[in-house]
Amino acid sequence: MSLIYQLFFGILMVCCFLCLYRIGRGPSAPDRTVAIDILGTVVVGLCALLAIITGKDFYMNIAIAWALLSFIGTIALAKHLEGRGFDE
């Protein structure tokens, strides 16, 4: 049972490395920003899997905090790409 969960964990790690590849290679700044956004969402899934595997409750708190911070960071980066202030 836990072997299958570890397989899932491995697949999600591969996803994270694909995102990191795009962050490193991406020819322009928006490409990197997209990859950072997607990496944040994948890590939320990773935290949920960790909460199941270890049976510890606090990983879900990490997942929620990560989702909130990732969203705010992405919006701030998008506004920066537009070349405007954050409060418009």
């Binding site: 697949i11 999600l12 694909l18 322009s28 928006p30 997209v34 899934g45 879900m60 919006i75 537009e82």
Partner: protein, 109 residues
């Protein structure tokens, strides 16, 4: 029983996540990547959280998973929209084989 159902749902979510990330690497320009990655990774992560909700017996974890899934489902399209607009306004061109770009035409006038 609930463990097997949860595992199947998590498996679907992980597979969608994986194909979303493959799309992120494989597609040619930022807008196509954003499409593939946003759709697949949003639904994939929501499926993983749903599986966590079904598998975890304890109430606090389940409610947190449900809240997190709702939050991701609401915010991820908004982030994608902001990123696409920011990329276009910062001057990233579409792929050279693109058919039409009405936005660029309207910005010139």
């Amino acid at each position: 029983m609930s463990e097997i159902v949860g595992m199947v749902i998590i498996a679907i979510g992980v597979v969608f996540d994986f194909f979303g990330c493959v799309g992120l690497v494989r597609f040619p320009d930022i807008y196509n990547r954003l499409q593939a990655a946003t759709k697949c990774v949003t639904l994939g992560t929501c499926f993983i959280l749903l599986g966590a909700l079904i598998t975890c017996g304890s109430a606090p974890t389940a409610t947190k998973a449900a809240l997190c899934a709702i939050f991701i489902l609401l915010t991820s399209p908004t982030a994608a929209h902001a990123l696409a607009r920011g990329a276009h306004l910062s001057g990233v061109k579409l792929w050279e084989k693109s058919v039409v770009d009405k936005y660029e035409d309207d910005k010139k006038h």
